[in-house]
């Protein structure tokens, strides 16, 4: 009759999952929680003392910390805004041009424009530092060619320009990613839709704004959240171009460099793992908030079309 044979435990599933889950949990998830936990303690005379949210209060309101924190956060927001305003529109424009079916050499353009993305921050930061250096004179020479030499100043050395300059360098490096993702999304639009649009007399720019743009909005959403996570986690470019002090006068300090300085110490200040963990936790909450905002508020409202 209906005697259910109890299935034997399927060990192979465990064997397949175990290595990945183990490494991921041990090196990523536990340290993340460990960091959150560390931020609740403070070193008092060699002993760890539980202080609750005291570290966070200090970071946000104590003048010794809060000035640097709000400065870094503000800079980081500007860093992100420049990316959203410059990187993503340029990426979309390039992708729109590349996806034209009759365009020749598109494989070459695609490969060439993606090259900066594969270079390390160290190379990118230093190469631009040399190019913009008044010592070498490449930038003033180039501006001279177009008669704009008077505009040149040592952009990376001036507090009012340095952050924007670095943001633009980062844009230069990463424009390949939105370009590729949007390009993929544009290629996925079926020809029938575009032909139907042409039958209705919608071509050229109008076709882009009215037909293609709505269809690639989900991809733009993903790119925005990737940019957000990448920017609020950035460190390498600033560190290679301006050093851990994020000069001039902390004007290019973002959360990543602030975390590094706090954790390891610099000049006369000693490193402080607990405040470092507090800053890392703040970054965690900021990134988590951004990702959740995207997942629950933006992604669910974007209309997806099934082709």
């Amino acid at each position: 009759m209906a005697t259910r044979i109890k299935k034997p435990f399927r060990w192979h599933i465990l064997v397949f999952l175990a290595p990945a889950v183990f490494v991921y949990t041990a090196v990523m998830i536990l340290p993340l929680f460990g960091t959150l936990q560390l931020s609740l303690f403070r070193n008092a005379g060699g002993e760890q003392a539980f202080v609750g949210i005291e570290n966070f209060r200090a970071l946000l309101t104590d003048p010794r910390w809060s000035a640097s924190f709000w400065n870094a956060l503000g800079n980081n927001v500007w860093f992100f805004v420049v990316h959203m305003l410059v990187q993503n529109p340029i990426g979309i424009l390039l992708a729109a041009l590349l996806s034209h079916p009759k365009l020749r050499f598109s494989a070459f353009y695609r490969a060439a424009i993606f090259i900066p993305t594969i270079l390390s921050f160290v190379i990118v930061g230093f190469a631009w530092k040399l190019i913009l250096s008044p010592l070498w004179g490449v930038a003033p020479n180039l501006l001279d060619l177009v008669g704009l030499k008077s505009l040149f100043t040592p952009w990376l050395g001036k507090a009012e320009y340095a952050l924007t300059t670095l943001s633009l360098i980062s844009v230069w490096q990463f424009v390949g990613i939105p370009m590729m993702l949007i390009y993929a999304a544009l290629l996925a639009i079926p020809d029938e839709i575009l032909e139907a649009a042409e039958c209705d007399g919608i071509t050229g720019m109008a076709q882009f704004w009215k037909i293609k743009l709505p269809l690639i909005l989900p991809s733009i959403g993903i790119i925005s959240v990737l940019t957000f996570v990448g920017n609020f986690n950035a460190f390498d470019l600033i560190y290679s171009a301006q050093g851990a002090l994020a000069g001039p006068n902390f004007s290019t300090d973002i959360l990543g460099t602030f975390l590094y300085r706090t954790f390891f110490g610099f000049q006369l200040q000693l490193g402080d793992p607990h405040m470092g963990a507090t800053i890392a936790s703040m970054m965690f909450f900021i990134i988590l908030a951004g990702v959740c905002l995207y997942l629950f508020a933006i992604q669910t409202r974007l209309r997806r079309y099934q082709f």
């Binding site: 397949f16 340290p31 590349l98 009759k102 365009l103 921050f121 190469a127 936790s281």
Partner: protein
């Protein structure tokens, strides 16, 4: 395609914009590599000129070879990248297979748990990772870097590979089962070879951030014998900041291997992205 979508002025404008941007993208790279072959005077007198017989000079490369242990750094980077890549691909494919193939309790939950790492950067756990490595005596070893990069690469690898594993036909696997293959052999003999194209895509995505990373080598393995090339170049540049020949040569040496790899794999990479592997 119909005629309405292309006209001559529009095509010219498209090419003009693309060429302009290609120049912007390539100019710094070309400038650095070009000037690394010139004498110090020529670097400053005419930075925009390619090296001629007169200005050709390898003094920068000689300084780099004598002063920096770049072969060691290169070797370290290579070991760390290749081993991490191997582990990410193997463990990632195994986990992706388990998640895509079998129905068991907690399947969705495990998938979500593993996907968490796609959005949350591992860097935020640095403080505790350093403590972990200190406690286990792994500071200044390549093992520490390999472990961190394996954990960093796994979430995206599992996500992409499980999408691909789902596309492999069930008939094939069931035929294997009827022939008496164990689940392990089905995975290693049947599924893994079919996943090869997807794995190449994952490999490129995983490799670039590992090779280029500065943060973890700086924090977990800054000692001389374990420096990676990215960290080695960074420190070399800091020390030789006024020796322009050496700086330009070091930068070129760091650019060239990545560029060569990219030119080999760019087709794979672009196909991977455009096939919708990343959504």
């Amino acid at each position: 395609m119909s005629q309405a979508r292309s006209s001559l002025p529009r095509t010219i404008a498209a090419h003009a914009i693309l060429i302009a941007y290609t120049i912007i993208a390539l100019f710094p790279v070309i400038l650095i590599v070009m000037n690394s072959f010139k004498s110090r005077q020529a670097i400053f007198r005419s930075p925009l000129m390619p090296p001629t017989a007169e200005t050709f000079d390898l003094v920068g490369y000689r300084t780099v070879m004598v002063q920096g242990d770049f072969f060691l750094y290169f070797q370290n980077s290579l070991i760390v990248t290749v081993v991490s890549l191997f582990l990410v691909l193997l463990f990632g494919a195994m986990a992706a297979f388990a998640l895509a193939e079998y129905r068991f309790r907690g399947n969705t939950l495990t998938g979500l748990y593993l996907a968490l790492g796609i959005m949350i950067p591992i860097r935020l756990g640095t403080v505790a990772i350093l403590q972990l490595m200190v406690a286990s005596g792994l500071v200044n070893t390549r093992t520490a870097l390999i472990l961190v990069y394996t954990a960093q690469g796994l979430p995206l690898a599992i996500f992409i590979l499980s999408e691909f594993t789902r596309q492999i036909s069930d008939d094939l696997k069931n035929a294997g089962r009827i022939d008496g293959l164990s689940e392990y052999r089905i995975f290693f003999r049947l599924v893994l070879p079919l996943l090869r194209p997807a794995m190449a895509t994952v490999a490129v995505f995983t490799m670039i951030p590992i090779w280029n990373d500065l943060w973890f080598p700086l924090i977990l393995a800054p000692a001389e014998p374990t420096k990676t090339i990215t960290l080695g170049v960074q420190i070399f540049l800091g020390q030789f900041v006024t020796n322009w020949n050496a700086v330009l040569s070091a930068l070129s040496l760091a650019i060239v291997p990545v560029l060569v790899l990219y030119l080999i794999f760019s087709r794979q990479l672009i196909r991977g992205i455009t096939s919708g592997a990343v959504k």
